[in-house]
């Protein structure tokens, strides 16, 4: 079950957190990890530059 947690403890910007059961992740970390996964997939499928001109 997805839950978005936002806390208010009188401190600036408590941040946005996503929770699935015991799994809790901060928005910034989620963006970084998702970007790494996307870059990995792109690196797998995008051909090496200049490969076509190579004989």
């Amino acid at each position: 079950m997805l839950g978005i947690q936002q806390t208010d403890a009188g401190m600036p910007d408590p941040g946005i957190y996503f929770q699935w059961g015991d799994f809790l992740i901060q928005f910034g970390n989620l963006v970084v990890i998702a970007t790494m996964v996307v870059l990995f997939i792109l690196a797998l499928v995008i051909p090496f530059p200049g490969r076509r001109s190579r004989k």
């Binding site: 403890a9 401190m11 600036p12 957190y17 901060q26 970390n29 963006v31 690196a43 490969r51």
Partner: protein
């Protein structure tokens, strides 16, 4: 008979490096490249730092704690006097509290260090700082002359009374047999609120200081500082090891370390830290020794991701 002089220049030799270059020539300005490189990279660093730099939250100090939650400060100072705080019962390297250390089976790694940084919470966090005041409270004499049993009786009575007082407010505690404890904790609170306790606990008379151990341990014994960490998702049971304050990305590479703290048997174990570290050492060894471990070393053959990356090569093979 004359001997021809030995040449020290490669230009005069008849090897390939001595022959004149026959290809095209192009002007190259090294100075221009250096200036452009430094300026462009410098602007990029400054610009990206301005936009993406990590948050610089103000430090939490004993002064800010004493001003924000004086009741919690007094309750913590009472626990330090009575030797019932987290630091007082931590075990090595601060003290030799029995059964306080984390163990890996029969191995007691924490106790191997011994008590290298001895801390007597009553003396180091309360009495010694108060003795640095120009007019030290008279209550110090009463405290130092009393027995340990008397200390425990006073601090237990005062801690109970604080717990029952409205808002745990020291001013609303009914009269009782608390000895010098209210005077000592009140004087320490005043000292902290004025901002003089921070330098006394940290610097200990020296001009420069890099040792914040005493202040941080004292802060950690209260509920204010852990409460701030909890609100910012920085505690161990909140994946705090990989979090930064706010929404700034933290140490996401510590995901496995953090993940172990969220699952059993680590989660509820009193030896969680040593168990997690031991598990990470084993996993790191497995990763390091992959080429020598049968089965594990065959994984690339069974999951051929490399064939996808080098698909052209494997297509023509």
């Amino acid at each position: 008979m004359t001997k021809s002089p030995v040449s020290t220049s490669w230009r005069t030799r008849d090897d390939i490096a001595s022959r004149p270059w026959g290809g095209t020539l192009r002007e190259y300005d090294l100075f221009k490249e250096l200036v452009v490189g430094v300026v462009v990279v410098g602007l990029l660093v400054l610009g990206l730092s301005a936009v993406f730099s990590s948050p610089d939250d103000p430090s939490v100090t004993l002064k800010s704690w004493a001003q924000a939650q004086p009741a919690d400060f007094v309750a913590t100072a009472t626990a330090e006097l009575g030797g019932t705080s987290g630091t007082a019962g931590y075990g090595p390297p601060y003290n030799s509290t029995p059964d306080a250390s984390q163990k890996l089976g029969p191995i007691d790694l924490q106790s191997l260090s011994g008590v290298r940084l001895p801390i007597d919470t009553a003396t180091d966090f309360v009495i010694s700082p108060l003795q640095t005041l120009p007019t030290a409270p008279a209550a110090i004499d009463e405290w130092t002359k009393a027995s340990d049993a008397q200390h425990a009786a006073w601090t237990t009575a005062y801690a109970d009374a604080l717990g029952k007082a409205p808002d745990n407010d020291p001013a609303k505690v009914p009269p009782g047999d608390y000895g010098p404890v209210p005077a000592l904790t009140g004087a320490l609170l005043a000292m902290a609120q004025q901002g003089t306790l921070d330098p006394v606990l940290s610097a200990k008379g020296s001009f420069y200081n890099t040792d914040y151990k005493a202040s941080i341990l004292f802060l950690g014994d209260g509920s204010y500082f852990p409460g701030l960490a909890d609100a910012q998702h920085l505690t161990g049971d909140q994946w705090g090891m990989m979090n930064e304050t706010g929404n700034y990305p933290g140490q996401s590479w510590l995901w496995l370390f953090s993940a172990l703290y969220q699952v059993e048997p680590f989660k509820s174990s009193p030896n969680a830290d040593v168990l997690v570290v031991f598990s990470m050492v084993i996993l790191t060894l497995l990763l390091t020794l992959v080429p020598f471990i049968p089965g594990l070393r065959s994984l690339p053959r069974r999951i051929p991701v490399h064939r996808l990356i080098w698909r052209d090569y494997y297509k023509h093979r």
